[in-house]
Amino acid sequence: MSAEDTGRRNLEARLRGLLGGMDASAGFEARVMQRVSMLAVAPREDLRVQFERRRELRRRRLRREVWMNGMTTLGLGACAAALLWRFAPEIQRLAANSASLIDPGLLAVGTLAALGAGVWLLISRARG
């Protein structure tokens, strides 16, 4: 065996002696398990809090929408009433004229179609 080989073996032995025992400190695994067990509980609690927060936000949004819809309906109703009050003679005259001009059956179908469209619009808005 050459001197170079001996030197290399000597150096390698010393490096093994120096670095061979390198490891994490005692209790490392227990600490990891402790952290992980804490994590296993934390997400469940987080999820519950998130779920509650989302439910509360949804509840508030629905309450706001109900109020807005109510006010819109009330406003439209008031406007319609005001218009009827304001233009009552004209409307009366128009109705009397159109009754003589338009077929009553066609008028009924038209009125029903307009009502249906309005109801459908309200329902689709409430669902959306």
Partner: protein, 181 residues
């Protein structure tokens, strides 16, 4: 490694908790060694190793087995250690004070200990990749192939780093008057 395959099979079978219980002891030294080889600080390496295992716990159910388990863990360890290095933003010392003190205190009792302190200083003074290769190779007498997987480098590159590191160490110790050859 057979243990790695057994852990992979447990994960694939959806038994992540059982897999994790086997994974920690199987990878503790490898993860710590890799973190230490990058950070050169025992405390920081241990913090990183803890962080890695917590990440693994969270990510384990999503491991799909496409990459080898060890390769996946080494990549997480390297990334976590590099992030820790960036966070610390400090100039890394030539050697870990905790280990250096331990080696020096041994040196007070024996001449061999003094030699160890000199050797430790020289290992710390090696270029990053060479130092990493030396620490990972001699920590557990690992095959070069595994050191290469840990470092994310080709096997021949690691062999070159090891060869150069040994030559540098031998020259440094010979220069300091120690008998190497």
């Amino acid at each position: 490694m057979p243990a790695d395959n057994a852990i992979s099979e447990l994960i694939q079978a959806g038994r992540a908790e059982a897999a994790f219980e086997q994974l920690v002891p199987a990878f503790r030294r490898r993860v710590f060694g890799l973190a230490y080889s990058l950070l050169r600080d025992r405390g920081a390496a241990e913090d990183v190793a803890q962080e890695v295992f917590v990440k693994l716990w969270q990510a384990l159910p999503r491991y799909d087995g496409r990459a080898q388990l060890s390769t996946w863990i080494y990549a997480i360890t390297r990334n976590t250690a590099i992030s820790a290095m960036r966070r610390r933003r400090r100039s890394v010392s030539m050697s870990d004070p905790a280990v250096f003190e331990e080696v020096e205190s041994r040196g007070a009792a024996s001449e061999a200990g003094l030699d160890d302190a000199a050797l430790w200083r020289n290992v710390g003074a090696l270029p990053d990749k060479q130092r990493q290769a030396v620490i990972l190779y001699y920590q557990e007498d690992r095959p070069v192939e595994e050191v290469a997987a840990m470092m994310g480098l080709p096997v021949n590159t690691v062999k070159t780093h090891l060869h150069r590191a040994r030559a540098s160490l031998a020259a440094a110790l010979a220069g300091a008057g120690e008998e190497v050859a």
